[in-house]
Each structure stands twice: as structure tokens, then as C-alpha cells.
Symmetry: C2
Subunit: 335 residues, 2 copies
């Protein structure tokens, strides 16, 4: 029943050639006569031979596996990234192993080490924060890394980013163009590069329009659903707070909206948001006038290709930074 593993050696015997030749056929090495190749191929499938990737890896010290490490997998953004990466990786013959840092830098460092020890050929990293305390460690592994969405400052590596500043700026400008003048900022801690850039964009739009930024209504935090919820709770309690807000990402946005929905107060009718991220459920976000859409699928695909090219030594030796443009989406406000 259980087939005793058939190896390259059996194939060789069956085809009356050496194991080296079989190996060549397996690797599409052109230095094999057509006829020989044919014989080997026949032996292979008459025997039902399957290549043992582990043995190959031991020789080549390459696993054709790449690791992706994200703060968590359950966020829509990261999972779309993983999905599109996986598509492209599969197309190029790689597998994807996943890890999560649970938004902890310590865990992140541990996971990077763990992945590297699993001998993944490369790591796509969405770092938790801007701190680079453990950078020396990861350089040690001597393994290619590609950053997506956020970066670790001071680490030379390929990067896949979006134009956060411009995206935020356009969204805020659009609000201003519709007559909103007091616009608050609900965002992530600016140590994270992404949040920092979006904040800059917000500031730029305000400045260009000659509007004042009320520091009291610039709120930083860990941009999660609970943060958005509680922040909005606070804001609504303050009768002088602005009715219009720019929100740094979808989680915070979701939290803020959830709060407003659970409170039936009159004032919620006045609220207007612009926010980063567009998701399948974005039409349901009642206060969302503008959404900054990121080309997530392309980003994942790009990350996959960057890391593979780096591994296979294709492409420029210099680290590349790909900055994708965002798209501003206007929503009808149905209340």
C-alpha cells in the first residue's frame, strides 16, 4: 500500500543511466540528449517518482520558500497582501510560510530569527514599528528582506510602499474643497513610518488651504479598532470638537464608525470622515466621504517579485523602493 519511496537512484537504474543524468533532466539542464531525456521521463512516471525537495534543499541550501511576517494575519490589509503575494510566488515556483509578530517588536525579532532558521530564502516583512533595535541581528542572517507598507529605518533593503503623504493630502484637500474647515486627525503613532507620512499629508493639505491645525484635535495612538472607538467616544463628548476627521486607516475608521452607530445621537448626522483604505465593506462606512485606496494586489505581487529577483540575483544590485500611487474614492453618504 504505502509505496516505498522511489528515489532518483531507482529512476536511474530503470532508465539505465546515472543519477547525475536523472538530476539533469529534473533540473532541465540542456546538456542531455533528447532521447535520453525521454527515457528518463518515462522511467520517472512509470515509477511514480517524486522529487524530494528536502534533499534538494540540503544540497542547494535553497528552499524555494519565502516567509512573510506581519503584525497579524487577521487584518484585511495584510491578508490581501499575503493573498496576492502567494499567487505570484506560486507562479514562480515558491511557497509561502507565514508568521505573525502579534504587533510586538520582541516577537517580531524572534520570528525573523525563526524564519531564517527554517531556511526560508527570503523574508517579506511588515514591521511593527520604526524601532530598529534588533537590526544587527537580522543583518546577521544574511538573507534578503523586502519591506512592505512600513519600513525599519536604517536598513538597506527593497521596499514596497505607497505614496502615503500624497494620498492623505488629496483626501484632506477634497474635504476642504467641499467646505470643511475644521478637520481633526485620528491617527497612528508617528514612529511608524506610514502614519508619519500620512500625518504629513494631512498637515500639508491644511497648510496649503491656509487652515489652522488644532493640536487638541490631532490624536495619535495604536491604530486599531478599539482605539478608533474610544477616540470617537471622547471626541463626541467634546461639544467643540470638529465634525470632520481624517482617519489613518481602516481599523481606526471601523472603530470610530462602530461607536457612532451604537450612539444614536443627533450630532452623528454632522460627522464626515476621509480615511485611508478601501475594503469590500467600505460602502457600509456611513460617515466615509473619501477613501484612499491602495493598490494592494499590485503591492503584494511586487513584493513577491522583488524578493525572488533578489534571491535569484536578477535585477539591479541597489535596493529598490517602489512607491505606488493611491486612488481617491468618493462615497455617497447614505444616512
Amino acid at each position: 500500500m504505502s509505496k516505498a519511496t522511489v528515489t532518483i537512484r531507482h529512476v536511474a537504474e530503470r532508465a539505465k543511466v546515472s543519477t547525475a543524468t536523472v538530476s539533469r533532466v529534473l533540473n532541465n539542464n540542456p546538456c542531455v540528449r533528447q532521447r535520453t531525456r525521454q527515457t528518463v521521463l518515462e522511467a520517472i512516471d512509470s515509477l511514480g517518482y517524486k522529487l524530494n525537495v528536502v534533499a534538494r534543499s540540503l544540497k542547494t541550501s535553497r528552499t524555494n520558500t519565502i516567509g512573510v511576517l506581519a503584525p497579524d494575519l487577521s487584518g484585511d490589509f495584510f491578508m490581501f497582501i499575503a493573498e496576492s503575494m502567494n499567487r505570484e510566488l506560486a507562479r514562480r515556483g515558491y511557497s509561502l510560510v507565514v508568521g505573525t509578530s502579534q504587533s510586538s517588536e520582541e516577537e517580531e525579532a524572534k520570528q525573523v530569527r525563526h524564519l531564517a532558521e527554517r531556511l526560508v530564502d527570503g523574508i517579506v516583512l511588515i514591521p511593527v514599528g520604526g524601532s530598529n533595535a534588533y537590526l544587527p541581528q537580522i543583518s546577521d542572517f544574511n538573507i534578503p528582506i523586502v519591506f512592505v507598507d512600513r519600513i525599519l529605518k536604517g536598513y538597506r533593503a527593497d521596499k514596497v510602499l505607497v505614496d502615503n503623504e500624497e494620498g492623505a493630502c488629496k483626501a484632506v484637500s477634497a474635504l476642504i474643497g467641499e467646505g470643511h474647515h475644521r478637520i481633526g486627525y485620528l491617527g497612528g503613532n508617528p514612529e511608524v513610518t506610514t502614519a508619519e507620512e500620512r500625518y504629513k499629508g494631512y498637515c500639508r493639505a491644511m497648510k496649503e488651504a491656509g487652515l489652522e491645525i488644532e493640536q487638541k484635535y490631532v490624536r495619535f495612538g495604536n491604530p486599531t479598532l478599539p482605539f478608533g472607538y474610544r477616540a470617537m467616544e471622547d471626541i463626541i463628548k467634546d461639544p467643540y470638537s470638529p465634525n470632520t476627521w481624517f482617519i489613518v486607516n481602516i481599523f481606526t475608521h471601523l472603530g470610530a464608525t462602530n461607536y457612532l452607530i451604537s450612539e444614536g445621537e443627533e450630532r452623528t448626522r454632522q460627522i464626515t470622515f476621509a480615511s485611508f483604505d478601501e475594503m469590500p465593506y467600505s460602502p457600509l462606512l456611513r460617515y466615509c466621504r473619501y477613501a484612499v485606496q491602495q493598490p494592494i494586489a499590485e503591492m503584494g505581487k511586487a513584493a513577491a517579485n522583488l524578493i525572488i529577483d533578489r534571491i535569484e540575483g536578477i535585477g539591479p544590485p541597489e535596493p529598490q523602493t517602489l512607491r505606488f500611487k493611491t486612488r481617491l474614492i468618493q462615497h455617497k453618504l447614505v444616512r
Copy 2:
């Protein structure tokens, strides 16, 4: 700079023991004198030795990796499963490699083969459909499989499921209890076991209440967002259609809701849904009176433990079926 890989051999030399002893220490083999173990351990970290998992795998033919294969990663449900699985796997020393079948049975078969050839120790499978045409193939691999959410009929394996019938039944009953009498069904093709069971639950609730099921308003399809959208478009065009619907899952629900929102018609005020799945954005689903919440995190964790136990030969030899209870969530309808 680049450390020339330090192997078990170097450690052995440094500790003045044989490689066998080092190996024993690495594997916590008790047959090592305490003093010797100490020496080896010191050698290990003075040299910065790292175990090469690939070499180990080649010997043991185990990779400590398990594969998960889902229709796609971009759905919240599957991603939550993967997330919680990954947590538990990591805790028990395993890694997770992901694959997607893109909702195609053919691709699914291919991926199972691919994963098996990568020598994953086990596969957690969320199959696309009920067809089991390629079952003989996968039995060949002689590798443990655990089904999650849905099953392939006729394949003996561990299963992690929820009580779909009861969940659906309770939700529909709750609607009935609030005075809804004409309730349609918007669901997935009943070849998928999950959909089939939910449909049964719907039928049971209707029957128990003595209500008639209008076949015209039982709609099957591929339960995706576009399906929900178009189905609702159709339904709304029919003035005799019911205002109350049970929906098979979150994607369909999202599609249906998106349609209703984009149409500002008067009638949408009358619409009420009950649906499977509760997500972070569920409060935004305007027509959702009841949601059937699945214990996703526990399911992922259970799947992880089942597959590992199977791999490590722990637990009962008989395939197990874990049926988790659902929870009915009531939402306020804020319109």
C-alpha cells in the same frame, strides 16, 4: 562577515565529544551525562551554532510544517482560521505554509499534491466543494488531513465543524419569533456540506413554525459578494418577494447589503436579514438583525491540535469530528 555555517561537527570538536552526543543533546535525549550536556551547550552558544532543520528533515522525513489549503486567503473567515491555527502551531513548534485553491477543485487537487510533495507533515483542508473525484489521489500521499468548515464526503479524516443546522435554525426561529412569516433563503449551492446543513436548519425552523417555504424565494448560488449583490437586485425588482431573508454567509450578506445601500429605495427600509458569520464590521450591516457567530479562533486552534496529534500519534486512532456550537447575536437595526 558572513559566518561560514557552523555544524554539529564543529560543536563536537569544540566540546571534545562525538557528533552523536551533540545530536543527543539537541534532541533532549536523556542518555547524556549532565556534565557532558553542559559542555555541549556551552560549545553550542559560544560557536553560535544553529540547527539545520533541512538536514534534520532529510533524516527524519518530518518537516514540522503543516499546510493549510483554503479557497482563498482574502476572506475574513479563512484568514481568522489561519491566524489562530498559526498561533497554536507555533506554540507546538510547527510552521504554517499556505496555499489557495482559488475555489477550483482542479487547483485544489494540484495544491494538495504540491503541499504533500513539499513534505508537509499534514494538511488542513477547507475544500472547495463536495466532489471527491480526486480523493484516491490524496489518499495516496498517506499524509494526515483535517477538514475544517466543510468536508469531502467519503474521506475518513478528522473534522472541525460547527453546528450549521442548529445555528441556521435558531436564527430563522428568532426572526419568526419577531413576527416575520415570509422568509426567503439566500444561500450557497447545497453540494457544499456547510450550505446544505444551513439550508436544512432554515427548513426546519420554517416547518416547526408551520410556515410555508416558497421555493421561488430559495436561491442557491456561489456564495460570494457579487452573488449576493445580484441576487438582491433581482429580489428587489420582484414586488412580491419577501422582505425577510436568511443569508448563508458573510460574503453574500455583504453583497446583498451593498446593493441595498446603493439603491435608496423606500422598500429597503422594510428589509431584514439574519445571516451566518459575525465580523468586526458586522455592526455596519444595516439590515442584519441576527448573526450566527462561529467560534473561529477555537476552530483554528482545534484544527492545529488535531493535525499535530495525528502526526505525532497522540490521541485516539479513530478520526474525530469536533462540532462547535454557534452563538446567536442580536443587532440593533439602526437605519
